[in-house]
């Protein structure tokens, strides 16, 4: 059970950038997507998030066609678009899209603001924030509706070391508390060891290894060994 990718292929300008024959990402755990630049990590995540259409293949989630759970999935990139509105309104947006009660929206947004320690930002316009602050707001916004699946592309790309710890512990606790399936695209091997249960290693658009994180601490393949050593 989980997210099953079957024969997913994506072609850009005649070049195959993604070719995943068979991959099953387990539910309720944190899976890291590791690999060098241009290995197809973001393309694969965008296809899972339904932001890109593959040339062929299908995605099945717990035996169902994937589009049935689209409402419960979200994708956050390191430069996610924030609305030209206050931080509060940005975090409240997904709940307003779902037409939740005002009292619930207020309670939930306050919870997230407290969780990410961004109380001092709540009335600020989101466009005036620093890169790291924006990253925290987009993550808080993505979590507002308790998604079943959370896909994060470089979650700590713009964040200073103090907050990396906060983001990582938040993701861990969300996974433990709500059993959220989390997929993290990262270059940072140490971070993937800290956060993830399993790791998918990609190269040239293909999955070359998918194993428990312990395996990657002393991998067999020379290329992965070198990547882990350098990152």
């Amino acid at each position: 059970m989980g997210i099953k990718l079957e024969n997913i292929k994506k072609i850009y300008n005649g070049k195959t950038v993604l070719n995943v024959k068979n991959l099953t990402i387990k539910e309720n755990i944190i899976t890291g997507i590791l690999g060098p630049n241009g290995s197809g990590k973001t393309t694969m995540m965008k296809i899972i998030a339904d932001l890109l259409e593959p040339e062929s293949g299908r995605i099945i989630y717990n035996g169902q066609y994937f589009n049935k759970i689209k409402d419960n999935l979200t994708y956050v990139s390191h430069n996610s678009y924030l609305f030209n509105d206050t931080v509060y309104e940005n975090i409240a947006a997904p709940l307003k899209f779902r037409e939740k009660e005002n009292s619930y929206i207020e309670k939930r947004v306050k919870e997230l603001i407290k969780m990410f320690k961004i109380d001092y930002l709540k009335d600020k316009n989101a466009l005036n924030l620093s890169g790291g602050e924006k990253q925290k707001v987009s993550l808080a916004r993505a979590l507002s509706f308790n998604p079943e699946i959370l896909i994060i592309d470089e979650p700590t790309a713009n964040i200073d070391p103090n907050f990396i710890k906060l983001i990582e512990s938040t993701l861990k606790s969300i996974n433990e508390k709500y059993k959220t399936t989390i997929l993290i695209v990262t270059h940072n091997t140490a971070q993937s060891f800290r956060l993830c249960d399993e790791i998918v290693f990609m190269k040239d658009g293909c999955v070359i290894e998918h194993k428990n994180k312990e395996y990657f601490k002393s991998p067999e393949k020379e290329f992965i060994k070198e990547f882990v050593r350098l990152n």
Partner: protein, 238 residues
Amino acid sequence: MEYILEGVEGAFKLIFSFDREIYSIVLLSIYVSFASTIISAFIGVPLGLLTGIKDFRGKTTLSKIYYTAMGLPPVVVGLVTVLIISRSGPLGSVGLIYTPTAMIIAQSLLVTPIITGIVFTNSKDTGREIIEICKTLGANRKHTFIKLIKELKPLILVATVTGFGRAISEVGAVMIVGGNIKGHTRVMTTFIAMSNSMGNYDTSIAMGIILLTISFISNSFLYNRTMGDNNGYKIRKY
């Protein structure tokens, strides 16, 4: 030099004399330009948004057509409009030639590509980003559309005010289709052109000052709505 100073002095006297003819010309100019801008915005904003955000075959060709149309020569637009609405033209029986309606049509033809082009160019990336983020946050079509308009409001205002600026300062097309008839189709720009050729510099300068003032007011409105920080809003850099 002296005649310029005399012209400026005469202009201020004319402005503060509240001359009925001058102010009726100003009102007609505002009416024609405003009407044509509204019509152009209603066509240009959705067209620019739709073609900007969607990917389709021929998009590059379409963008070239938009950019060409943005620089249409006003006299050519005036000429085409006259050929269509003149008595012997296909719409001759409607009797639009030398009327404010004809001027509105000609200005709409000039302003629509400007609004469409500005919205198209600037919504290509930002618009797609907004739609993408709305999708990942679970917005339906209605919510996505509302967010899109709200987020692109500064851009839509910039396009509309630029269109209005083009309309109110345009002379070639309105001269051809309107005929600069006193009390009927005479607007500020055609009045300035005529007064200048007659050597009436004071009235030309007076009208020029009013034209600049209107332009300043419309641009101030734009500035306040997009760059002002009264409500904490800031324009996103497109």
